[in-house]
Symmetry: D2
């Protein structure tokens, strides 16, 4: 075990040609305890990963291929750290089944690697108990393909859990006339709004309201570099967490 501490962990990055992927390659290369042994672009075969002897692979690809990538990784006994969105209850269920037979392999699927987003989600669940109203506004660059963001969906679920624990019912809303859908999406009973704006990267605002009072949580990622501490934490810890973990908070101490 001591020798493991001294030998750098062998890491592959899938989706290395993308913006997050290239940032992740740089971050892995800069870390003295990690070694980048494979960086796969769109046309590279997954076998490159086994050929290079990677122990952990980071998947930063696109929703259409991430599930099959991770299936392949687990088949080959490689731990996976996944930042791609697009996972459904069905694909997560399939993965859980597969992992039951894959002794010791760990998979981390993190909707957001920014520590601030994880804090926002955790705090949102606690604060939700104390307020009548709760809404989410997520804001991203205008090249994002889906709305709302996975982080916003997870935050809505966290708020819903907090409200349920406190015995709160539906949020107050007297809207009778909203012909154009200005009230946005409703996710787990919580209204979620998605802004797309040039110059922004990834931002989330969670607002709570009670009589005469407002409480707000806000997280801003101005730069993809802000996700890298979370990615590296995932890479370092994934082998110690066999099975499926959804959310970076499972790896943190947020007492």
């Amino acid at each position: 075990m001591t020798s493991t501490d001294q030998t750098p962990l062998r890491v592959a990055v899938i989706g290395a040609g993308g913006r997050m992927g290239s940032e992740a390659c740089r971050a892995v290369e800069a870390a003295t305890d990690l070694e980048l042994v494979a960086a796969l672009g769109r046309d590279d075969e997954l076998s490159t990963i086994t050929d290079a002897g990677a122990q952990v692979a980071v998947d930063l690809t696109v929703p259409s291929v991430t599930a099959q990538n991770v299936r392949w990784l687990v088949e080959h006994g490689i731990h996976a750290v996944v930042g791609t969105t697009g996972w459904t209850e069905e694909t997560l269920g399939d993965l859980r089944s597969q992992l039951e037979g894959a002794d010791g392999v760990g998979v981390l699927i993190a909707p957001n690697f920014a520590i601030g987003a994880v804090l926002a989600m955790r705090f949102a669940e606690v604060a939700a108990r104390y307020y009548d109203s709760a809404e989410i506004i997520e804001m991203h660059h205008p090249d994002k393909l889906d709305a709302p963001s996975g982080t916003a969906r997870h935050t809505a679920a966290a708020i819903a859990r907090g409200r349920k624990a406190a015995g709160l019912g539906a949020v107050p809303d007297a809207t009778q006339k909203d012909p154009d859908g200005a009230r946005g999406a409703v996710v787990d009973g919580i209204h979620v709004h998605a802004v797309r704006q040039r110059g922004l990267v990834a931002h989330e605002v969670v607002q709570f309201g009670g009589p005469g009072e407002q409480f707000q949580l806000r997280h801003d990622s101005f730069d993809r570099a802000s996700f890298m501490p979370g990615v590296l934490l995932g890479v370092r810890e994934v082998a110690a967490h066999p099975g499926l973990t959804v959310g970076l908070d499972g790896y943190l101490e947020l007492g």
Copy 2:
């Protein structure tokens, strides 16, 4: 003319039982140059206004009755200051026709009496020329019946005018998948989001974005008292503006 300056202007308030209406009654009573001669609740006849000799009437009722109230006022030669929303192109057109034959009668329909909201709209039109992206988030108490707010609709129109003047096309938005409508309403090409939250009153945020940059305008009305300076300005100036004026900015000097 000099005697007019010394005799208080005779003012009626229609919708005096509502929250805005009762605030307006207090504000008129507190102003030394104005006299509250009639305060009409839900069941009062409009003839109370002529009986009391009102020169100006403030309509703060509900969308279903405001158009007929104003028609009656114009028929009886009484200037009208209207804060009720719900006017359509059709009802506005009918009113314009009526006013052509009503010599010297002035009507002000103001979607928002808060000076800050008017500033936000004006500045939004200027700023819109310089940015790729523009979105609006309006936030109100959860008892509001319609979404988005009239102010937000007017602000969207102002932004659209500014963009057109600068030769800008559609805002950038790559969204392909938004199953729950998180991108909100689209008004004149501008996305508008409506938040409903206990403890809030009336708030509007206008966000502009370009490469590496954000510009924001925000107006918060914490209290209905914030609308009263605009209502009183309208009451004092409406006789000097015959015909229909839509928007308080027509009465202000804004640079």
Copy 3:
């Protein structure tokens, strides 16, 4: 014990003529499990409280008299819920000594009764571990006499504790030239800024920053009514917490 549950708790309010005090009187009167037995203005004798048989007294007076009020209450075996600021290490120490000999008497000194402010403080201590930078901006109405607010001072202390626990040193700050003091106050190593603005009530923003990232907590009290749930909680719970408790969070379950 069961009879206690059915008999309303007898409550006195000291400083009943002030804005917070009059709000507290209304809140106590509106609560079916509490009875307002004395409401003391500036010129009333403290003996009114014992004459009325109060079990708990709420002190919402001014910094110059609160310490002697509470000393008197403890002497007479009356539990105290204190919202007045101005307590020093010295006056708190004296109170602690006095309470050692006052069997079963409870005192709650809460710098802020708004649940949102308490959440902000608690969350600030947790988040502080993960960020290089932390600053506080508090904003109040312009009639406030002292700066920064007691809540901001307590939040700075909470951040300092969080940073210390995480082994963080001083916040980064290369400022060499600040002739007019724009960097604000430094409380426990944390910069604190105080804004005074007409139309505001009581607001606090806590900002954390790391590379490419920002995390923000914000609490807005738009109305003194927002403090009342916390005051009533204190009144109901103080007898169950003998000795001195500083901060409403000692009475809450915060995850």
Copy 4:
């Protein structure tokens, strides 16, 4: 004159080794109507500029040398676009005197090249007329040497002009006790607060307040790229504005 339109303008950048300077070099090189003929680092002689035949020089150096750089440029008939802060009434006066004898030479000193900052300043002057209270919060990365920013100082001056035009007196502020200076700097009667936070670049918030109301302007520069449209505009227009212009707004149409 027509040939001028087709021949690229010859541009030098002084301070090319700095962050803003290197960004400006890239921006000039990317513009088809401009040619980068000299890029001076710390140790380069100013004569490099005349040797290269530059028509316009961009100064992005440091407060200690900018005034002597610009003096030299004007002596040699080269138009100057200056983004360096640190100019005083005295150095500006000297420059104005020099320019009186330098026929046709133009100098633009812009405290901020971000169009959003210029909009914020202009709008601040207009809005200032309508509100009792006004304060400024500027926020920058923690490597900034001076506080408050030049932009914040200029914004304070603009607010002061707006207030004076409207006949407003001092902002309301009852603060009696502020032992640590939390109320920040006072510039032209306006309180200015400077936040220094890792992850931020350059941000300004201007807040106005009246009874029950708040109006806010906010500008965020997330990236130095956001300053380049302003720098290029200055480079292209400076020859058409002989003499000294302070502020990019002198080159814009902000009607």
